[in-house]
């Protein structure tokens, strides 16, 4: 096809068939508890919505390059057959996978021989061992690790000179894992955890006719007779009680962690660096605000889109090589180009610190330097990680 340029010359448009790039969104139907607050939206499409938005962005770009992206949603039942799914995907030549899976299921899937040369982008599992000890060449981590988030929070607390921390954690594995990440940060930044308390809370129903008084008393009791401290850090990833802590503590202290001031890859109040556009596009398409997993899915699909745009290829190993190369850069409304760490394939990115309605700060904080990039002051740096991918 020829297109007329204004000087009368004819420009040859890309010839031949369009490059078709299927991207699989692989999820598992595990029930997730609804947010504790009635104000927060329940989002059954959390994650996939971000992937859909990014596919649209990829295709808008793709139309100029004769590249066509397709999103294929695959959801296995809880505990369902990942091997069969892997065989099916591999048989169809579908090797670009956005994985909305928990850590054990992610590693199970990634270790299947059918997925050996796939590009799997983890948008859910924040587990530190996946970055520190148990890396895989076919897995890229888009979602920040717990260590990155704890360090982002820790740097902020240090910059405020809030050095004495109380740590309260829930009973689930995820809560304990985040508590571990907080302990690691305390050690790194020489903050003191003056006391730790584990807490089991029966969440019950989200909506009740009464109960605010009972909750207040429970939280007051929970935080009674603590040594002198600056800030209370709560590790309650499953969100059964953390949201009840602010303003109900025995001592007047700020609450941070999984409630109050929260470290996160994305927040609805983030409008800097062009973030407004992404928020608006998302809200218009899905009638709710963009959540962290949506953002991670958007970044994952855009990672593939960017690699396809620059390499003109849909081949998994070509894309993989490009993504870990020095040429790869992703603009993702964080004011900096995002790249993947070579040793563990974690996406480097600034971490937002936000209260429910407002962005408070963005880490890395001023003064936390690193020889490579300040972004590597967050999470497991190369010397702290046993992983040595791409060497």
């Amino acid at each position: 096809m020829l297109i007329l340029a204004p000087d009368g010359s004819e420009v040859v448009a890309a010839e031949g068939d369009a490059l078709h790039v299927p991207i699989v969104y692989l999820g598992e139907s595990i029930p997730e508890p609804p947010p504790l607050s009635l104000v927060e939206p329940i989002a059954p499409d959390k994650g996939i919505a971000g992937a859909k938005l990014a596919i649209g962005d990829n295709n808008t770009t793709g139309q100029f390059l004769k590249q066509n992206f397709e999103l294929i949603e695959k959801v296995v039942p809880a505990g369902g057959d990942l091997k069969g799914t892997a065989a099916e995907l591999s048989g169809a030549g579908q090797k670009l996978i956005v994985a909305d899976l928990t850590a054990p299921r992610l590693t199970e899937f990634a270790d299947l021989p059918e997925m050996k040369d796939a590009v799997i982008l983890n948008i859910r599992a924040e587990d530190d061992p996946l970055r520190a000890t148990d890396c895989r060449a076919n897995v890229f981590h888009v979602i920040p690790s717990r260590a990155m988030k704890a360090d982002a929070l820790g740097q902020f607390l240090i910059s405020k000179k809030w050095m004495r921390w109380v740590l309260i954690y829930g009973v689930n594995d995820a809560d304990k894992a985040f508590a571990d990440a907080i302990r690691r940060s305390a050690k790194r930044y020489r903050a003191e955890i003056v006391e730790e308390r584990g807490y089991e809370f029966k969440a019950g129903s989200r909506r009740t006719d009464t109960g605010e008084q009972q909750v207040r008393e429970q939280m007051t009791q929970l935080t009674q007779r603590l040594p002198d401290y600056d800030v209370l850090i709560v590790a309650d990833e499953s969100e059964v009680f953390g949201e009840y802590l602010p303003y109900r503590t025995w001592d007047p202290r700020p609450v941070v962690g999984t409630s109050g001031l929260v470290p996160t890859a994305w927040h609805r109040s983030q409008e800097q660096w062009g973030g407004t556009q992404l928020q608006r596009r998302f809200t218009r398409a899905f009638n709710r605000w963009m959540l962290e997993r949506d953002y991670a899915a958007w970044e994952a699909v855009r990672t593939i889109g960017e690699a396809v745009t620059r390499t003109s290829s849909g081949d998994a190993s070509t894309l993989r090589n490009y993504i870990v190369s020095d040429s790869f850069e992703l603009a993702a409304f964080k004011g900096k180009p995002l790249t993947y760490r070579k040793w563990d394939q974690q996406l480097r990115q600034p971490i937002l610190l936000a209260t429910p309605l407002m962005l408070v700060s963005v880490s890395p904080q001023e003064g936390f330097l690193h020889e490579r990039t300040p972004l590597d002051s967050l999470g497991h740096d190369e010397p702290d990680s046993a992983c040595r991918l791409n060497q």
Partner: protein, 323 residues
């Protein structure tokens, strides 16, 4: 004593020279957060008026007769037209959602508007005050430029990372050039042979040959003591003689001076914080930068390559146009 006298003389000289050269120029600065336009007398080097306009004014441009100022009031989703004699908004024009930057056709009859929100360039007929067409482009259109012969319109799309070449006759894209991450601004050389496109997150300026649509060179920037990822090129202006380009480097708080022929960086000028956009005085003797985070503008002596004055304006100054 002698030293003090010398200093006094040099201050007097500097002021004298300044007053003389910038005679009668007026700068209009859009303040993204204050929702105002600050009017700055570049003769006195001070703000003389503040005009309330619509929500989130960003890109601004003068009509060719310099009597009107067109303002992208982004959050009001329209264009406002400010009469520069009365300083009243005399007209509101449709623009499509979230207009950010635009460019006026060489005959002054058409505004080409980048709608950041919906992947379109809106073509607005100014006489009729109606949208005549919408041109689909990449994700998050932003930078806009028109060739000196009015035949080629450039639009940059921030998430698609392209400069789209649009035929103004057919209003269709006839070519696309991939550039580095988040292209923000496009500027033609006065001879129309090149277009310079800044990439904010990529940290580069791509020099594109207009005839072949090939990138001739990517200009990188290095400033001692400044982290590479804070060097974020946004506004670009080229002197009317086509010899020197100025590039606003965002949070690096510098304006780079680039030799156009060699595309080599020659100097970095320290301005206010988070420098966004630039414009020349009509005689091109001075360049003004808007400094988003320090709420001021810097006045640069073009020949001396020196910042001669900082002038406070409103909150988060964004665009600038000078008559």
């Amino acid at each position: 004593m002698l030293q003090r006298t010398l200093m006094a003389v040099s201050i007097a000289l500097a002021c004298g020279v300044t007053v003389d050269r910038a005679a009668a120029a007026t700068a209009y600065v859009s303040n993204e957060k204050s929702n105002t336009i600050t009017v700055v007398d570049l003769d006195k080097m001070e703000p003389v008026a503040t005009v309330a306009v619509g929500e989130r004014p960003r890109g601004i441009t003068l009509s060719h007769d310099k009597k009107l100022l067109y303002i992208c009031t982004s959050d009001d989703d329209h264009i406002e037209v400010l009469d520069l004699e009365t300083l009243q908004v005399v007209r509101t024009l449709p623009s499509g959602p979230d207009p950010e930057l635009f460019v006026l056709s060489r005959d002054g009859g058409t505004l080409y508007i980048a709608n950041e929100d919906n992947n379109f360039v809106t073509v607005l007929d100014l006489a009729q005050g109606v949208v005549s067409t919408e041109i689909p482009v990449g994700v998050e259109p932003e930078g806009m430029a028109i060739s000196p012969d009015n035949k080629i319109l450039i639009n940059t799309s921030e998430t698609t990372n392209m400069a789209h070449f649009i035929n103004t006759e057919t209003l269709e894209i006839f070519d696309n050039v991939l550039v580095d991450q988040r292209p923000r601004y496009a500027e033609f050389t006065p001879d129309g042979k090149q277009v310079w496109v800044s990439s904010e997150i990529g940290g580069t300026v791509s020099v594109i040959d207009v005839t072949t649509r090939k990138i001739l060179k990517k200009i990188g920037f290095e400033i001692q003591g400044i982290r590479a990822d804070t060097i974020q090129p946004v506004g670009v202006r080229i002197t009317p003689d086509g010899k020197t380009a100025f590039v606003a480097l965002g949070p690096a708080n510098r304006v780079a001076v680039v030799d156009v022929d060699s595309a080599e960086v020659q100097d970095y000028l320290l301005v206010g914080q988070r420098v966004w956009q630039l414009d020349f005085t009509p005689d091109a003797k001075f360049l003004v930068s808007t400094n988003g985070n320090s709420n001021d503008i810097s006045v640069i002596d073009v020949a001396e390559r020196k910042v001669v004055k900082s002038i406070p304006v409103g909150e988060l100054p964004w665009g600038v146009a000078i008559r």
